[in-house]
């Protein structure tokens, strides 16, 4: 398969993820969309790594996965904390600076 196909696929995934972040108003779906974007980047890395026969592309994906795990843990903890206050997952519910 040509490298370009993988890159287009990766771009498509990233676009879907970005659209999700902008269009959805549910904190959980927002976090999921961010995960999609991270995965799009992973795909591009691995495809480039395969193209140049280098191992670095795969190594970077492990770091991205670790960061994604950390992000998910902290993000979900925040979501739980916010939900306790407002009984809502809509980011619009959390516009006040103090409560």
């Amino acid at each position: 398969m040509p490298l370009g196909h993988y890159l287009v696929l990766s771009g498509l995934l990233f676009a879907i993820g970005t659209a999700g972040v902008f269009l959805r108003r549910n904190l959980i779906t927002l976090l999921l969309s961010v995960e999609l974007m991270l995965n799009a980047v992973n795909l591009a890395f691995v495809a480039f790594g395969r193209q140049w026969g280098a191992v670095d592309g795969q190594i970077i994906t492990f770091f991205v996965m670790t960061v994604a795990a950390a992000e998910a843990a902290v993000g979900l903890a925040l979501v739980i904390g916010l939900f306790r206050h407002r009984e809502s997952l809509n980011p619009e519910a959390f516009t006040s600076l103090k409560w």
Binding site: N26, I28, T29, E35, N39, R50, I59, V67, I80, E92
Partner: protein, 175 residues
């Protein structure tokens, strides 16, 4: 080689459809399930790219651990509906002016992307198969613990920080 293309389109299709479902589903539980399907498609693509270890790590870490965490949270909060209706009015993006400007910008971006894609030449060049793929776990480990040693160790600090942060954030404050 034909089967390769077939598999690419199969896995790529699963990935993209899964991703679309994540964004379009109303119910977070279904979103989480769709993203898992998407991750399986990605794992298949990694196998096609001769990176089996990444493929398995994708399943173990993403599908097996992170997404269970998401599902767990969704079920714990029991918030399976998007409560959008009451807030829609106040959203700035729903004001007509912002929507128009944003729409124009989005169309411009899409046009630009299409233009750029139509002008690139190297899109159809197949992946260089003369270069051997590095798929052995030994080689991955060697590079990870020599060239990327520092980044690896820093990552462990990141994990600890995230863990402590998550515990403190999610803890019930008893006043």
């Amino acid at each position: 080689m034909a089967s390769d293309a077939l598999l690419f389109y199969l896995f790529g299709g699963v990935t993209v459809l899964g991703a679309l479902a994540v964004v379009t589903q109303r119910n977070p539980v279904y979103s989480v399930l769709s993203i898992i399907a998407s991750f399986f498609g990605l794992a298949g693509l990694y196998v096609l790219l001769e990176a089996p270890f990444v493929a398995v790590a994708q399943i173990i870490i993403y599908a097996g651990a992170i997404m269970v965490l998401f599902l767990f949270t969704v079920m714990l909060l029991n918030a399976t509906r998007e409560d959008a209706a009451e807030w829609d009015r106040s959203h700035p993006l729903y004001r007509p002016f912002a929507v128009r400007v944003g729409g124009v910008l989005a169309v411009l971006l899409a046009l630009q992307l299409g233009w750029a894609l139509s002008r690139t030449s190297g899109l159809g060049v197949p992946i260089d198969l003369d270069r051997p793929a590095v798929s052995s776990v030994q080689e991955l480990g060697r590079v990870l613990f020599t060239d990327y040693m520092f980044a690896f160790e820093v990552t462990s600090i990141l994990i600890i920080a995230a863990m402590v942060g998550a515990v403190i954030l999610a803890r019930k404050r008893d006043e």
